[in-house]
Assembly symmetry: C2
Homo-oligomer: 277 residues x 2
């Protein structure tokens, strides 16, 4: 509670769970296609309501590729009956009156809703997002500056360790393997498991974690978990192929230093040689 | 739709709106105190239910500092009556049975709920978060690795431009001033406003945007917006006091190079001096 004065003006950032949930999307244009992608990522079932004439090419592609995950109705919103068994509503149509009507119906039924471009009709907003496998990052400026949200997103994307998403995914697999090997909830064993996983994540570089394959994980558990230590990458049969920015940078510093050393030596030598003559 | 194979396994990241909403928090310990902070940031009204014996010092501080924003009840959860007029429920108590009971009651009423440590009883999760004024960033590994989420959060925090939150806040103020000066929704003017704001955000460094005060904003609008251009920082009376990490880094490279040059010169000189004798 360091900065109590600023405890306001924000949102509650959440990772909403949509597995086995039904999301109704009204509209099929550009914005709707982005919404479809976002909720498919979260394993939702999508019901899409939009006249086929207004479908964005991306929306069409989604409908074709995921017939089992998207139920498509070639028509406009039909009223309350469209909200049956729906867990979330996202609308992205140009008709403001229709949007407000859908919002009122959803709110009567306490179904969370986002109406594109009409903030008062939104229970939640979407921020600028990064996704890399199971790693998801959202940047929100709480409506102050979408452009800065975008700039910050790009900077974060550029500064993320190489294959951070891969590292997260591999560590997730390692965790389940560890839980299989040393099962049980809570207690001393649970604490030891957590500590060891933290040690692995802290001691290894993220690029190296992303290299973990089945064999390496087995060795890591045999020589690491069983002996209560964290082996190095090489000990479990891995090898680095570094190409990260930080490596380049420090390599550059060394090159520059070596060049400067040589230049210094050459200058000094030249002075002495000149004196000799 | 570049990577359709991985359109699963994630969450829907959202910025949930809680202004004028009531959030019930059951429990007053360490986890609950973090929840209280998160929802106060989002301008929610909090109803806190927890026996005073179990209150974390931070929770106590929140109750004392925000008597108008937190309604505190020194007791355990009372049942369905506690859920009246509630828009969201967050529980953080050790009693698993009680937690599940609260979850069932909330779900009957379609009130979104998060039960700490019981994923199946959660409609949403909290990620690792960064907050700097109106700028909020959430990192979610979708449960794969809380430790990596934490490491990535720290790396992002370190790589963020200095005072990024301040820049977002200042740009938000500039945007409202621009809307006052050139009011109206949509149309050509709306597009011109958006383009000019984008140009300002793109042309100026984030550290410089954070320096914008009232006078500078007035000049920026007079000499910039009115003349359809983006003046430089100096033109509107600002001056840089750079101390960013990148500056430090390049300064270090120069120091190292200078030292290497001197070392090279000294070595070479030593060789020649030794030969002379």
């Amino acid at each position: 509670m360091t900065d109590t004065a600023s405890l306001s003006g924000g949102s509650l950032l959440l990772a909403w769970q949509l597995k086995h949930k039904n999301v109704l999307i009204v509209g099929g244009g550009d914005v709707a296609s982005g919404r479809i992608e976002s909720v498919l990522v979260a394993d939702a079932h999508v019901t899409l309501v939009s006249p086929s004439a207004g479908l964005h090419p991306l929306t069409k592609q989604f409908i074709e590729r995921y017939p089992d995950r998207i139920t498509y109705h070639d028509r406009t919103f039909a009223g309350a009956s469209d909200l049956e068994s729906v867990d979330m509503v996202l609308t992205a149509i140009d008709d403001v009156e229709k949007s407000r009507e859908i919002c009122a119906l959803a709110r009567e039924r306490r179904i969370p809703i986002n109406v594109a471009d009409i903030p008062p009709s939104c229970d939640f907003y979407f921020g600028s997002q990064i996704r890399s496998g199971p790693l998801q990052i959202m940047i929100s400026t709480n409506g102050q500056s979408p452009k800065l949200a975008n700039i910050i997103r790009k900077q974060i994307e550029a500064s993320l360790p190489e294959n951070a998403g891969g590292a997260v995914e591999r560590v997730g697999v390692l965790r389940s393997k560890l839980r299989e090997r040393a099962p049980g909830v809570g207690g001393e064993l649970g604490k030891r498991r957590m500590r060891w996983m933290i040690d692995v994540c802290t001691d290894w570089e993220m690029e190296d974690l992303a290299l973990l394959d089945e064999d390496m994980m087995a060795k890591l558990l045999d020589d690491g978990w069983e002996k209560n230590r964290v082996p190095r990458l090489k000990e479990v049969g891995g090898s680095r192929r570094r190409s990260s920015l930080s490596t380049h940078k420090s390599a550059n510093t060394w090159l520059v230093s070596a060049a400067a050393f040589a230049a210094g030596a050459a200058c000094s030598a030249a002075v002495f040689l000149a004196r000799r003559r």
